[in-house]
């Protein structure tokens, strides 16, 4: 029996897709500039099926890519030539939500937002809140160590995963971590988070839940320049405050968000959103300090959310910014570099200069508190050469972030998109150590082959 026949025997009921039309939706993720036709797409419904499929792949040497909702912006869930896609959306059950232990145990295909929704009646939430939270899955979040606006205070996905059950590329099922906040021995689950599916497939994920903050104080400030907004962020930090979130949008992204969702934002070169969260007395005291700081920062207009509805209105534009920018341009590339906070101004100025040099528009919307930039490079894929120019510009931006002491990615991962830039950030020895770990766990190189690790690392010195 050949590989495909065995696969079909493992997953009955039409859950192995091989027809052209069925495969098409899986050819790319949210980075649509890259496309690959997989050999087949399989739709497991139970973890035992995933394990059997992985073992079959191992036996036949067939590469596989796990896929959640395919919202990766870096080509992380792009299929591998001749390989299969393990589409995990049907594994979408919350297996246990235990308010006493403050944990949720979920299948990998559970959508991020659903955990917080299910936890809400107990006064709990799942903290990492990527803008894609209504669609992206926890399996994808785990693979990419995804973050969101509220990462400054609460950290990223890795900080909220307590345990994992995974199947390694050779088909071994192991439990890493546990159900508690403290363990003994190496933090292997912490290590798995962020390895982009190269070391195995997450079958079950144990998440920590936090009490929902008692009070929020959300402020929107308008500035005449992007630097002005950036400087305000530094002032907030220097004042000793620790906001839950600090986000900046530039003129282009404000316009896009306005067109898309009519958030009612003021006209400005830049908007700063600062959100405080915590017990009401503490938030009240912090708010006073914050207002003093913002007053001195030269904001042209300041709005404060007086109700949950007004708070949601402020966030609506920000959360919609990526998709809204799609209205300004037929195509765009989202970058995700990080710079030290004090270098934000310099980074933004340089990005503007590069945009002019490449004759492309760049919209900026970013997690200012973390120094995590999201420059959106707008281009028109139908115009010859424009994608290449956009990619070259995006590459310059990545180099810039590394040069300023930052990182290639804050939350979107390396995928296929940024792997060529890994040697800018890591020395050859660092990359070879990653290769060795990959090779030890995946001797046939089947799990998400061709992602993250640059080809240069293999080349002899």
């Amino acid at each position: 029996m050949g590989f495909l026949e065995e696969l079909k025997a493992l997953l009955p009921g039409g859950r192995v897709l091989t027809r052209e039309a069925e495969l098409a939706p899986y050819e790319s993720d949210a980075l649509t500039a890259y496309r690959k036709r997989p050999l087949a797409v399989v739709l497991p419904e139970r973890k035992e099926e995933v394990v059997e499929v992985v073992r079959l792949c191992h036996r036949h040497g067939v590469p596989f890519v796990a896929r959640g909702s395919g919202t990766s912006l870096s080509g992380g869930s792009l299929p591998v030539e001749g390989g299969i896609v393990l589409a995990l959306n049907r594994m979408n059950r919350i297996l246990r939500l235990d308010p006493k232990a403050r944990i949720a145990i979920v299948e990998p295909g559970v959508v991020n937002l659903e955990v917080s929704q299910k936890a809400a009646p107990f006064g709990l939430l799942y903290a990492p809140d990527p803008s894609s939270q209504p669609v992206s899955t926890l399996g994808g979040n785990v693979a990419f160590n995804s973050g969101g606006a509220h990462c400054l205070k609460h950290g990223m996905t890795a900080n909220h995963v307590l345990g994992l059950e995974i199947v390694t590329p050779t088909g071994e099922v192991v439990r890493l971590g546990g159900e508690g906040l403290e363990g003994v021995g190496p933090d292997l689950h912490g290590f798995f988070v962020g390895t982009e599916g190269l070391l195995g497939v997450a079958l079950e994920i144990t998440l920590r839940l936090l009490p929902r903050p008692e009070a929020y104080h959300t402020l929107l400030a308008a500035y005449d320049s992007l630097e002005g907004a950036g400087e305000a962020v530094s002032r907030v930090i220097r004042s000793g405050l620790l906001p839950g979130a600090m986000e900046i949008m530039d003129r282009l992204s404000i316009e896009a968000a306005e067109k898309a969702v009519r958030a009612g934002y003021p006209e400005a070169e830049a908007l700063l959103i600062v959100e405080l969260e915590g017990p009401k007395e503490e938030v009240a005291a912090e708010a006073e300090v914050l207002h003093g700081v913002i007053q001195e920062s030269g904001a042209s207009e300041v709005r404060i959310a007086r109700s949950e509805a007004e708070r949601q209105a402020i966030w609506k534009g920000r959360k919609a910014a990526f998709s809204a920018v799609g209205r300004l341009s037929p195509d765009y590339l989202v970058q995700d570099g990080v710079v030290p906070r004090s270098k934000l101004g310099e980074a933004l100025r340089e990005i503007q200069r590069l945009a002019q040099a490449y004759a492309l528009r760049v919209a900026n919307v970013f997690h200012a508190g973390d120094g995590n930039l999201h420059p959106l490079v707008l281009y028109d894929g139908k115009r010859p050469g424009e994608l290449e120019r956009a990619e070259a510009l995006a590459g310059e931006i990545l180099r810039l972030c590394v040069r300023l002491g930052g990182s290639l990615t804050g939350e979107h991962g390396i995928g296929v998109e940024k792997k060529a830039y890994m040697p800018e950030m890591f020395a050859r020895e660092d990359l070879l150590a990653m290769e060795r770990v990959k090779a030890a766990l995946d001797p046939k190189g089947l799990a998400n082959r061709g992602k993250v690790l640059p080809e240069e690392a293999h080349a002899p010195a």
Partner: protein
């Protein structure tokens, strides 16, 4: 053999290549972990110390692994910042590297998380003498394999950590502590369960068996005063501790374990506490809303933990500090990749 005491990265590399088996020692505050076994050379990292980079506005610092925590805390304190995971044994000379390798956090981990949540990047020398960097020096980073998180609790199994970058936070301006005596363990556990679900933003929430809770608040002085009153209302009273800072310094230096021959860290959790309380353990305290237990034991207590199948890490006073032993393929494969000859602890016949 006298300990090797490298003062440069190159000397660490040389030491690793020259010795088939090594045991790293930071400050030596967790002797069960840092004392050499038969045939192991001791690599004393106290010569690799110092703060390399610190920009308060970035909430980030980078330091050499042998730096005593006390030194770090002093530098951070000048700018009103602190290590929110509240590392234990600072007073006894624990180092940054030893704290990460042992995976230890103190009572204030309750507020924002443990050592694993604040480590951003590392440089380490692997079992082949190669220098490897993982993570970065910015508060957010998702590039490459996160070797830094692998080092947390690793007990030195994958390499000698030489340099670490951490995230820090502004220190609360004022702190107060409420101590409440409950009628019984059941009552105390009931209260813990309730409090854990409330958005109280406590810095610390400790259970001193059988039935005492200690709750620490931090923030703006006026807000702390008001929240303290609310907390009293919620718990039906309690005593406000006279001195706050000194009390908690004692807790995180594990002074309640003084006099016990064996010191252990035990992952707990509300559901497991009744079981733990039925075992013959010595002086002890549950931190972080009952999530972790630090206990002083006699040999009998350790046997009881093992018999009950409860995992533990011994910091002091026992031969085999880690239970259960790590055996699965994922761990061994990573170990094989980074320490193929088994120079470092864990695996290939080592106890820990």
């Amino acid at each position: 053999m006298p300990p090797l005491r490298p003062t440069t990265l190159e000397e660490v590399q040389e030491a690793v290549l020259a010795h088939p088996r090594l045991r790293v020692r930071g400050g030596g505050t967790k002797p069960a972990l840092s004392a050499p076994e038969e045939g192991e050379a001791v690599l004393d990292l106290s010569g690799l110390r110092g703060l390399l980079e610190y920009q308060p506005e970035e909430f980030v610092f980078t330091a050499l692994a042998g730096t005593p925590l006390g030194e770090i805390e002093e530098a951070l304190g000048v700018h009103g910042q602190y290590l929110p995971f509240d590392p234990p044994l600072v007073g006894q000379g624990a180092t940054l590297g030893g704290t990460v390798a042992a995976g230890l956090s103190g009572p204030m981990r309750h507020r924002f998380g443990g050592v694993r949540d604040f480590l951003l990047g590392v440089r380490f020398v692997d079992g082949e003498g190669r220098v490897v960097r993982g993570g970065g020096k910015v508060v957010k980073n998702a590039a490459g394999f996160p070797f830094h998180r692998l080092m947390v609790g690793s007990l030195g199994a994958f390499g000698v950590v030489v340099e670490l970058s951490f995230k820090v936070f502004p220190r609360p301006r004022a702190t107060r502590t409420l101590r409440v005596e409950m009628g019984s363990l059941e009552e105390a556990l009931g209260a813990l369960e309730k409090i854990r679900l409330l958005p109280l933003d406590l810095l610390a929430l400790d259970l001193l068996p059988p039935a005492t809770l200690e709750l620490r608040l931090g923030g703006f002085p006026e807000s702390v005063a008001k929240r303290l009153e609310r907390l009293k209302g919620l718990l039906g009273g309690g005593e406000v501790l006279e001195e706050d800072e000194g009390h908690w310094r004692g807790v995180r230096d594990l002074s309640f374990l003084e006099g016990s021959p064996i010191w252990a860290k035990v992952p707990a959790g509300l559901d497991r506490i009744p079981l733990l309380e039925s075992l013959p353990l010595g002086p002890r305290r549950y931190l972080d809303g009952g999530e972790v237990l630090y206990a002083g034991l006699e040999a009998e207590g350790l046997r009881a933990l093992r018999a009950a199948g409860v995992p533990y890490l011994v910091l002091k006073g026992a031969e085999e500090p880690l239970f259960p032993r790590l055996q699965h393929g994922f761990f061994l494969d990573v170990k094989k990749a980074l320490d193929p000859l088994g120079r470092f602890p864990l695996g290939w016949g080592h106890a820990a």
